[in-house]
């Protein structure tokens, strides 16, 4: 469903994730793309890498545009066509946030994919509200001083039918979540962590290893929330210290041991909270 010849950087797991997501969704799918790396991968006029129709909209409006597309399809009796949004973190956590929040509030029938590379990457790597604490970006060269927003929790607070995190390093889990989302009606959101090779300072062959470390260290836990209530943690343990994840990325090169300890504590807290919710729901 994704064609070769697209414009993703060599080794980019955004393209890889898109490939497996599209293959899982199948041909009865239409996409709305917000300006982002994902949109660039879809292709520039007149070429498309996607074997499904894609509507490229503005950074603010992807969820609104998808709502419109959904209604148009419903009017034509095409309830079986899956409508998806593909957007970056900037277009989700920041600039498209209001459109997304309202769409979820209306429980529009769509799957929203947020490819979270933790910054405005196709425009050269500026910080977004998804950029983690202390990460260096083009606009925060000395490291960002505020924490990353927790999108999945915000979505859970909307009592969205389905919210999940996923990773290209766990392809079977990603595919399962896409299938599961496809079987649910209403708004669903899947956030896929995308280690960005130039943005994070990684060698071309390291994105999967990094995505795997994000999960193994608990920096990016794999979990699902249904109706904002039922939490399922998809991994039972964390097997490595956060340091292992931070040390391989150039964007964290300036960190002191204390900085790393602080991030470890933050990750520990988040993990404990998730584990509790998962155990009690």
């Amino acid at each position: 469903m994704l064609r070769s010849g697209h414009a993703a950087c060599p080794g980019c797991v955004l393209a890889l994730s898109l490939r497996h997501i599209l293959n899982t969704l199948g041909p009865e799918t239409m996409a709305v793309a917000a300006p982002s790396c994902a949109a660039l991968i879809c292709g520039a006029q007149p070429c498309s890498s996607m074997k499904i129709p894609v509507y490229q909209t503005t950074l603010e409006s992807s969820a609104a545009a998808a709502s419109g597309l959904r209604r148009a399809l419903d009017t034509k009796g095409k309830q079986d066509t899956t409508v998806v949004v593909i957007a970056g973190d900037g277009g989700t956590y920041d600039i498209g946030f209001q459109a997304l929040s309202s769409a979820v509030e209306r429980n529009e029938d769509m799957i929203y994919f947020c490819f979270d590379n933790e910054g405005y990457m196709n425009t050269g790597g500026q910080k977004s509200s998804a950029t983690p604490l202390y990460a260096s970006t083009g606009s925060t060269p000395a490291g960002k001083l505020s924490k990353k927003k927790n999108l999945t929790e915000i979505m859970a607070a909307h009592e969205i039918p389905y919210a999940a995190t996923a990773s290209a390093a766990h392809l079977a889990d990603l595919v399962r979540k896409v299938e599961k989302a496809k079987g649910i009606r209403g708004t669903r959101i899947i956030t896929v962590l995308i280690p960005c090779l130039p943005g994070w300072g990684l060698p071309d062959d390291e994105a999967i290893a990094t995505a795997r470390l994000a999960v193994d260290t608990g920096v990016f836990p794999l979990y699902e929330v249904e109706e904002g209530q039922r939490y399922t943690l998809n991994q039972t343990t964390r097997t490595r210290p956060v340091k292992d994840y931070l040390m391989t990325q150039k964007r964290y090169r300036h960190l002191s041991a204390e900085d790393r300890d602080e991030i470890q504590l933050m990750v520990d807290r988040n993990w404990t909270r998730l584990a509790e919710r998962s155990a009690t729901s």
């Binding site: 070769s4 697209h6 062959d205 795997r212």
Partner: protein, 548 residues
């Protein structure tokens, strides 16, 4: 006006953009050797047959094994397993228990009566093999499979050499040995046992009668200690002792036995004597961990009640008649030399002591019998000299095994047999040797993505309880149960040997890996050279190659 409206929807595929032009390096599927394979004296394609075990295709595993070694049930028991020392998995947790798995497959073949596949079409030449030990039997097998007629001479009543007359049944049961030898004989081999090729005339006749000759008469002449009077009834050679006990006779000896030597033969004598209820001490020059015997053998011997007195030298023996022998010993500093078998010792003054005994068994090594051979063939340092093609100084006469090397191991002898067959075939077919091809680098641990190989403990060798071992010649090491063999096979990284796991295919962001003819191909139109496929390969079967 009929002007065309410019489409605002896409109507072309990105496939027209050949992103392969971005690339600096291209992945390539390779089939590099695993380090275990390179370390194995018969180059046993270990990764391949272990993968068959993993797929529970046991007969395939056996067929791969016997390509290089017709005795997997023997090596699966007594090989010195250099493969395990070089196993890549050893750097993650513990090496694969290759020998245990080999025995598992070898025993299955015997239990199920699997026969060797058809031999190649018959060739006209007949090859003479002198010596029916491991080197000679392996050569017979490989030559016969190539279609040659083989005549095998041995001076003993039964074939097997050291495997039969040296190594005791509690390490290598005779029914196992018999089964693996019989399978070779079933290929149709003209066996002449009780036939000693001893004179120069015998040798000349062989050369005249046969297209080629392979000499594999082993090393059966015991080295002698100047400190011992070998004419005394209380001195016995290890070979004599083992041959007698292995044939069911009891060697004439007293109750207190001292074995001199630190190799496999010394351990075999000591453990055999324990089984006959004797009090046994082993004295050797080396310190315990430097002994040439396999470590397991030493530990098993001590478990069975053998006393080890390491790092000492025998100086003299006094026969005190009814009171028995008194052995005067001294502690020594032992230093191994560059070659196996070479060493220097320094006695440590003031450390003299004595040991009481009734019988001494000397097991300090053996040399080949070259008394008649040296009239015809070049010899060097007591061994028959061979070139890289294993040919002696006479064209058409090849040699191998203990006769030509100080590497005194069963699997080394099997390797000699295998290579001799190949070289004899080349000699007779006048084809050139392949030895000019550059040796390939083995797969290293950093080429393996160990994420796909979760931690798992190595299979544990189970043993018969010590109390039972001390009174029986039954096999000491127990077979690996089927489920444990399967679990052990799953631990193998399959170094350099694609397992068709699809990772390279699945992890390509550019859809540049194609499944094709049951394998994979890189589409260089679109491969951007990121290397993710290589990085995520669990077996090291794919590498990046610089292009520009």
């Amino acid at each position: 006006m009929n002007q065309a409206v410019r489409a605002i929807w896409t109507h072309e595929s990105t496939e027209v953009i050949k992103t392969g032009s971005w690339r600096l390096a291209l992945p390539a599927y390779v089939n590099l050797p695993a380090p275990c394979h390179k370390a194995c004296p018969v180059e046993g394609n270990i990764a391949v047959w272990i993968q068959s075990v993993e797929n529970q295709e046991y007969r395939d595993a056996w067929l791969t094994l016997i390509e290089n070694n017709p005795f997997p049930a023997v090596t699966g028991r007594i090989c010195h397993r250099p493969c395990e020392d070089s196993c890549n998995r050893g750097q993650l947790d513990e090496p694969i228990a290759i020998r245990c798995l080999e025995r598992f497959v070898g025993d299955l073949a015997i239990d199920n009566g699997w026969a060797f596949p058809e031999t190649a079409a018959s060739k006209t030449e007949t090859i003479a093999i002198v010596g029916g030990g491991p080197a000679g039997l392996a050569a017979a097998f490989h030559l016969r499979r190539m279609g040659y007629a083989v005549t095998l001479f041995d001076d003993q009543q039964q074939l097997g050499g050291v495997l039969r007359y040296g190594i005791p049944p509690y390490r290598l049961p005779k029914d196992i040995l018999d089964a693996e030898i019989q399978r070779i004989l079933d290929l149709g081999i003209d066996v002449r046992t009780n036939t000693r090729i001893s004179s120069q005339t015998d040798f000349e006749n062989l050369r005249a009668e046969f297209a080629a000759v392979f000499m594999a008469t082993g090393a059966a002449v015991p080295k002698r200690l100047p400190q011992l009077d070998y004419s005394q009834p209380w001195v016995i050679e290890s070979a004599t002792y083992l041959e007698q006990t292995n044939s069911g006779d009891h060697a004439q000896c007293g109750e207190r036995i001292v074995v001199i030597g630190g190799g496999s033969a010394a351990m075999d004598v000591a453990r055999t004597a324990r089984r006959q209820g004797k009090e046994v001490a082993v004295i050797c020059l080396e310190t315990e961990t430097a002994m040439p015997a396999q470590r397991d053998e030493v530990l098993e011997a001590m478990d069975e009640g053998v006393t080890l007195i390491d790092g000492v030298m025998l100086r003299s023996v006094t026969d005190r008649a009814l009171k028995g022998l008194e052995l005067a010993c001294v502690k020594v500093e032992f230093e191994a030399g560059a070659e196996r078998g070479e060493f220097s010792v320094n006695s440590i003054a003031g450390t003299e002591f004595t040991i009481d005994a009734d019988t001494i068994v000397a097991a300090i090594g053996q040399d080949p019998d070259i008394t008649t051979l040296q009239d015809s063939l070049d010899v060097e340092a007591g061994l028959v000299r061979v070139d890289e093609q294993q040919q002696t100084s006479i064209a058409g006469v090849f040699a191998g095994g203990d006769l030509v090397t100080m590497q005194r191991f069963v699997t080394v002898a099997f390797g000699f047999g295998k290579r001799a067959a190949t070289e004899i075939d080349r000699y007779l077919r006048s084809s050139t040797s392949a030895s000019d091809s550059t040796p390939e680098q083995a797969v290293s641990t950093d080429m393996i993505n160990t994420h796909y190989h979760p931690q798992a403990a190595r299979a544990k060798q189970q043993m018969v309880p010590v109390a039972e071992r001390q009174v029986s010649f039954d096999e000491v090491e127990l077979a690996l149960p089927g489920d444990e063999a399967l679990a052990e096979s799953q631990r193998c990284f399959s170094c350099g040997n694609c397992t068709f796991c699809d990772n390279c295919f699945d992890y390509c962001p550019d859809m540049a890996i194609k499944r094709e003819n049951g394998g994979y191909r890189v589409n260089d139109d679109y491969c951007k050279g990121c290397g993710l496929c290589v990085r995520e390969c669990p077996t090291g079967a794919i590498v990046m190659r610089q292009e520009r």
